[in-house]
């Protein structure tokens, strides 16, 4: 059970959440699976919504996505961002549609798009929250993706929380060392400019720090023969030897495939299309 904190929404909490998301520390179903099979599962889940316009099917796929988010134990921050993003977008488009004389048809078109995007988003959250950087890059490597991409993904996920942390530190430094503007100005414009300025200034040390750490990482990788280890078959075998497809992987992918098929069958049985709502 996680430690209870009094101030739930703080910068610290956001950083912790990002780290948890990037390192898949919450466990969950997909983090126990073979990363290649997780990617396969993601491809099934991400491709399925694009092949249909049947709202019944889309609703089924969205429900499937929601279940997988629960199984993957996606953290509250990402969920919140997802829900707020989806909700605000919907409300905004709906308001615009109503304002400019839209009707039920517009709303249904919107529902379809929201369901579709939501299904894809939930799948990608569930998959990528469950893959830690090491596993993801190994999966990409074993699928013959360019070594550059595999390394970049692994490095990116690993460094993201550290970068955010570092940026936060530098930004706080600027805040402590500089006086805030005397007056807020019209609509707080002076304060806004001050903050933007500090954010831009923070990039100078961040650029230099990151350049240094990138070089250290790359050079230590090269001393260990990174380039040849990913090209040479013997090196690949050693590195990727631990990847094994187990019964669990097959079960999960097969169940997903069956459920997706069921969603399509249900859509066939009770089709609900956008044109059913079209007036005239």
């Amino acid at each position: 059970m996680a430690r209870r904190q009094r101030d739930v929404v703080s910068v610290e909490w956001v950083k912790l959440e990002l780290i948890r998301a990037a390192y898949a520390t919450r466990g969950g179903l997909f983090s126990r699976m073979d990363p290649r099979m997780v990617l396969l599962w993601y491809v099934i889940m991400a491709a399925a919504p694009w092949l249909t316009h049947n709202i019944t099917v889309l609703a089924g796929l969205f429900a499937l996505g929601a279940v997988s988010v629960a199984l993957a134990r996606v953290g509250p921050l990402l969920l919140l961002l997802f829900i707020v993003g989806l909700g605000l977008e919907t409300i905004y488009i709906l308001a615009v549609a109503l304002l400019f004389g839209g009707n039920a048809e517009t709303a249904v078109a919107l529902l379809e798009l929201t369901l579709k995007l939501g299904a894809v988003s939930t799948a990608s959250m569930a998959a990528f929250v469950s893959l830690d950087p090491e596993k993801l890059s190994d999966a990409l490597l074993s699928l013959r993706a360019p070594a550059l991409l595999a390394f970049a993904v692994s490095y990116g996920y690993r460094m993201l929380p550290i970068l955010v942390e570092e940026f936060n530190t530098v930004f706080d430094n600027y805040r402590i060392r500089s006086a805030p503007p005397a007056r807020h100005g019209f609509l707080g414009i002076r304060t806004l400019v001050h903050w933007v300025k500090m954010a831009v200034l923070s990039f100078y040390p961040i650029f230099l720090n990151t350049a240094q750490s990138v070089r250290t990482t790359v050079e230590s990788l090269e001393t260990r023969g990174f380039t040849y280890a990913t090209v040479d078959q013997r090196g690949r075998d050693i590195r990727l030897g631990y990847l094994k497809v187990t019964a669990l992987d097959i079960c999960v992918v097969a169940t997903t495939a069956v459920l997706v098929l069921l969603a399509y069958l249900a859509g066939d049985q009770w089709p609900l299309m956008r044109r059913d709502f079209m007036s005239g």
Binding site: S121, M159, T227
Partner: protein, 315 residues
């Protein structure tokens, strides 16, 4: 600020015995530049994710991206590898991790951003020249937004998407797109592009390159890891932008087919879909070949030089 001529004693790794930077970067340097641009652009996008967007009516008054981040790296290091890394950073950091992955639109966005950063970075021949930096910053937003505006307009023109603006007034849409374009240029291009870049590029010039084992760029020197402005390159760029159009069409087709299905299928038929897919494959393949071709030429003479320098170093 006074201009300080860059001087350095001794040779850095990645330079030959005269201290010249070879035209081609070493593989670890490419990896460094790629990863650095990816992380920095990803970080800046995470920051923007936190800031709420402000929209007034049909106009979006938000910052699209921190242009100065990829531009600085492209101007100082290598436009090609930065252009490859920066959009990927956006996809990996914000879109995949935050669950905001939007399918085909990501590919369209990647191609547009790649072209924008690559061309704008190549415009900057002298990282100390303020005019070139300013032009480069505006150019990134200009190319990126022009391509997406053109895609939007063409979608309506071809008919895969409905114009959502005043009926019977096609000009009104043009005006709206134009105003949105102008807002983007001012906010993303000037306020968050030109102004920070004018300060950051000279400030980092001569400081960030040694950290990556490179000698700072000197005006007039060919751009590292770069295709010369050749016909091959222009051809590849054109193909990439065409491919991004087809990606956009595929997406628009998908969204609209639900609404217009009967008459729409009659008008275009499913062949439209397959032709789009085939066009994307052909265009991407051809542009990769052209890029290879364009890159192969300037690299060739650098190889023996570096080998000789290494030999001397060892011996």
């Amino acid at each position: 600020m006074t201009e300080i001529a860059y001087r350095r004693a001794g040779a850095l790794r990645g330079t030959d015995d005269q201290g010249r930077r070879p035209l081609d970067l070493t593989p670890p340097q490419k990896l460094m530049i790629f990863v650095l641009s990816m992380s920095m652009f990803g970080l800046s996008n995470i920051l923007l994710e936190i800031i709420p967007d402000l929209t007034i009516g049909p106009f979006d008054l938000s910052v699209s991206y921190f242009v100065f981040v990829p531009l600085t790296l492209a101007a100082l290091l290598s436009p090609f590898w930065v252009a490859l890394g920066a959009p990927l950073g956006e996809i990996i950091f914000t879109d995949l991790l935050m669950g905001d992955f939007s399918g085909l639109a990501e590919v369209e966005g990647f191609l547009q951003m790649f072209l924008a950063i690559f061309i704008a970075g190549s415009v900057i021949r002298n990282p100390r020249n303020r005019a070139q930096i300013a032009v480069g910053a505006v150019l990134v937003v200009f190319i990126d937004k022009l391509l997406s505006a053109a895609v939007d307009l063409t979608k309506v023109w071809v008919g895969v998407e409905d114009a959502e603006y005043v009926e019977g007034l096609p000009e009104s849409m043009l005006v709206l797109e134009g105003v949105g374009f102008g807002i983007d240029i001012i906010i993303s291009g000037v306020l968050f592009g030109v102004l920070p870049a004018l300060w950051l590029v000279p400030a980092l010039h001569g400081r960030i390159e040694p950290l990556l084992g490179m000698r700072p760029r000197v005006p007039g020197e060919p751009i590292p890891g770069q295709a010369a402005a050749s016909g091959w390159f222009v051809g590849a760029a054109l193909m990439l932008s065409l491919a991004s159009f087809f990606f956009a069409f595929l997406e628009a087709w998908d969204v609209s087919i639900g609404a217009f299905e009967p008459e729409y299928l009659e008008q275009y038929g499913t062949w439209f879909l397959w032709i789009s897919v085939a066009a994307i494959v052909v265009l991407l393949g051809a542009s990769i070949l052209l890029f290879r071709r364009a890159q192969a030429r300037p690299v060739a003479p650098a190889e023996p030089d570096r080998a000789a320098a290494e030999e001397e170093h060892v011996g």
